[in-house]
Amino acid sequence: MVGGLLARKPGETGGKVFCRRTRDGEDVPWEKIMDERKKVFCVISGVTVFLWGMFALAGCGGQKPYVQEFAPKTSHEPQGIAVLPFADRSGYDQGAKIVYRLVLVELVKQCNWRVALEGDVFKIYRQMRLRPWDVPDVEQLRIIAVRLGVDTLIVGEVLEMDEKVTPSGVSPALSIQVRVYDGKSGLLQWSSLYRREGGDYQKMMHFGMVNTVSELGKKMVQEILGVWKEKGLLSCVDS
């Protein structure tokens, strides 16, 4: 490190050479001082780049959907999946329907699962005199599964949905719970809980920032399905 004396390049002050003097009284030449400075600069730059990289990675990684398994893991290829109407506890207008549609889309997109049509699901709800926000009991779930010809049922709840528009930008937040039931027994197999905000996906400056609840919902559903597949809870259909 540079000592207490000011080190200057020769010639800067009328040709007078200033060097660092050690405690032993020896003068350290100018070149050696510059080498030390370069090393310090390299170390500081390296640490800065490393920290920036860590922050950038933290923006896209970190949180994962929480999955709670209730039945022994049996990786099966679902014959068909029905997404039952989501319940809305957030108070966001049509929040449950927005997430419902996104789940339908991602199920078809991510794997070639046969997904029951929304119209068929609502028709059976009408026949069984169930309101869209009702959670069917075990027997009702079995009936719905048989009538729709599916073996997996997805039931969900939108716990929080918010989109604050401020002069500095948009800040969406979404929290959802998704439960998966076995159509034959009507029993709960696994459940996922996930909460994210638009800023969680920010990488650097405005890059990666999510500005709408629908985009946030899409990303979250993709991540939830990804974790299910990663844990071997659902497997894709080949054909």
Binding site: V105, L117, H206, T212, K218
Partner: protein, 489 residues
């Protein structure tokens, strides 16, 4: 050359994929909102991509004819009918999930392509875009408003849409979900159960189909009702109180036999047992209402209820307040002693009756008595002048015991001459006085064990007539005091 071009156009049209674009639902406009602008944009883009898109009027006519009131979704039967009537191969269902026209403008859509002959969703995708998502160098070519955002969203949606749609499946789906209605869910023993089965396809020939209902091992043949266009099985609900599973057997010949679990029904002949608990103040083992009475009705064996009724009856069994509701009983009821007309109910003996009906219609009830006591405690004060002092007797002969009392006597200048308090009455005390013109005021406070309070102010006890004889002036004073009394303070 021209002939060749026309021929090519005709051939292209003949082999073009027939697609129906259903009206796009707009969730930003609330429940069952419609977005005609997005519907038209999607139609135009699909036409440009080479699809033969069914005219909008024909779609609307179909929806009106089939009484399809909701947009954004369609059931399998209607998709099949749409295919039969309009000859479509694919169907595009769209929904505007989010639309924000204030800054920053945003739009989110989701699309589904459904193959018409087997009603299978073969593709789905969603596109979301906010104006804040698009940042370009010097702001060049950034969308400036919602309309420009819409343009980008539609272009992106068409980019992710598959160019070659999967081929039509070889074996078209014929039998879609049957509509099965099993009612009622809960019955009393001996009541009639009904199971109705309606087939989705319109060309079902009832002579070729036999339908039966299996209940607890018994087979009940369903009869076809041509006017109603459904099969119906009717049977009496007999047997012990328990749940009975029901399945429907559909037989279309040796090759095609199908069993469908239709649900279950519960036979319930036992009325629920209900107990009532009243929580209020208690006096001599009796629940008393002064301000509020809390009523809790609990079923000994909890079960879902169809309806309930709660009534407050006076001594002559007349209903003074009543309320009823559907579904399960609330956790508790609170009654503040007001009649149906809003006035306070008078003091006396009352009863509360709670009746419940379970889902089978079995009725049960419970009654409990209570008393309303709101009357203020009345303390009697008698004065007597003896020599140089005035003797005061304070007495109470009410039924409700006193919790406490307090008396203070003050001189004309406001100085306290005597202060006494206690729980029991009668009590006697005296204060000295010098002449008849002297003024001694008396303030009496009291509260019974139920909380009813009294506050009485006598401006001058010297001028009071002895042993309860009152002057006209005192009578006026008394009535003024009564008006000034506060029931609750």
């Amino acid at each position: 050359m021209l002939l060749l071009l026309v021929l090519l156009l005709v051939v292209e049209q003949a082999f073009a994929v027939q697609m129906a674009v259903m009206p796009v639902e707009d969730l930003s406009q609330g429940d069952n909102g419609l977005n005609p602008s997005m519907t038209n944009r999607l139609r135009e883009v699909l036409i440009r991509k080479g699809y033969t898109v069914v005219e909008e009027k024909r779609i609307i006519d179909f929806m009106a004819k089939k009484r399809i009131r909701r947009v954004g979704s369609l059931d399998s039967n209607n998709i099949l009918r749409l295919r039969q009537e309009l000859g479509i191969e694919y169907l595009l269902l769209g929904s505007v999930n989010q639309l924000r026209d204030k800054e920053p403008a945003a739009l989110g859509i989701s699309l589904q392509i459904i193959r018409a002959n087997d009603a299978k969703m073969i593709w789905a995708g969603s596109v979301q875009l906010c104006r804040a998502d698009v940042r370009k160098f010097l702001g060049l070519a950034e969308p400036q408003n919602l309309s420009e955002v819409e343009d980008i969203v539609v272009v992106r949606a068409m980019e992710i849409m598959p160019h070659n749609l999967p081929a039509i499946s070889e074996a078209p789906k014929e039998n879609f979900t049957e509509e099965i209605h099993l009612s009622p869910e809960v019955v009393k023993p001996g009541e009639t159960m009904r199971c109705r089965i309606r087939f989705g396809e319109s060309n079902v020939k009832q002579a070729e189909v036999s339908v039966s209902v299996v209940v607890g091992g018994k087979v009940i043949e369903a009869v076809y009702l041509p006017q109603e266009k459904y099969f119906e099985a009717v049977w009496p609900a007999t047997g012990k109180d328990r749940r009975y599973p029901v399945s429907v057997s559909i037989n279309r010949g040796q090759q095609d036999r199908k069993n469908v679990f239709a649900g279950s029904f519960l036979v319930d002949g036992q009325p629920p047992e209900i107990t009532l608990a009243l929580r209020g103040q208690e006096m001599d083992g009796e629940v008393v209402l002064r301000r509020q009475l809390t009523i809790s009705a609990v079923l000994k064996e909890p079960e879902p209820l169809a309806s309930w009724n709660i009534s407050i009856l006076d001594g002559s069994e007349q209903v003074v307040k009543s309320e009823s509701g559907r579904g399960n009983l609330p956790g508790r009821f609170s009654w503040w002693g007001q009649r149906q007309d809003g006035m306070l109910a008078e003091d006396g003996l009352y009863s509360v009756r709670v009746e419940v009906w379970d889902r089978a219609g079995n009725n049960a009830g419970a009654t409990e008595k209570f008393r309303i006591v709101r009357k203020r405690p009345e303390l009697a004060i008698v004065t007597e002048k003896k020599g140089g002092e005035i003797q005061v007797d304070l007495n109470y002969d009410g039924k409700v015991p006193l919790a406490f009392w307090r008396v203070d006597l003050r001189s004309g200048s406001g100085a306290i001459l005597l202060e006494k308090n206690g729980e029991k009455l009668p009590v006697r005390f005296s204060v000295p006085f010098s002449n008849e013109n002297e003024k001694i005021s008396c303030r009496i406070y009291g509260q019974d064990v139920l909380g009813n309070k009294i506050r009485q102010v006598i401006e001058n006890i010297v001028s009071m007539k002895p042993r309860g004889e009152k002057t006209a002036e005192q009578d006026e004073e008394k009535s003024a005091e009564e008006n000034a009394w506060s029931v609750d303070f």
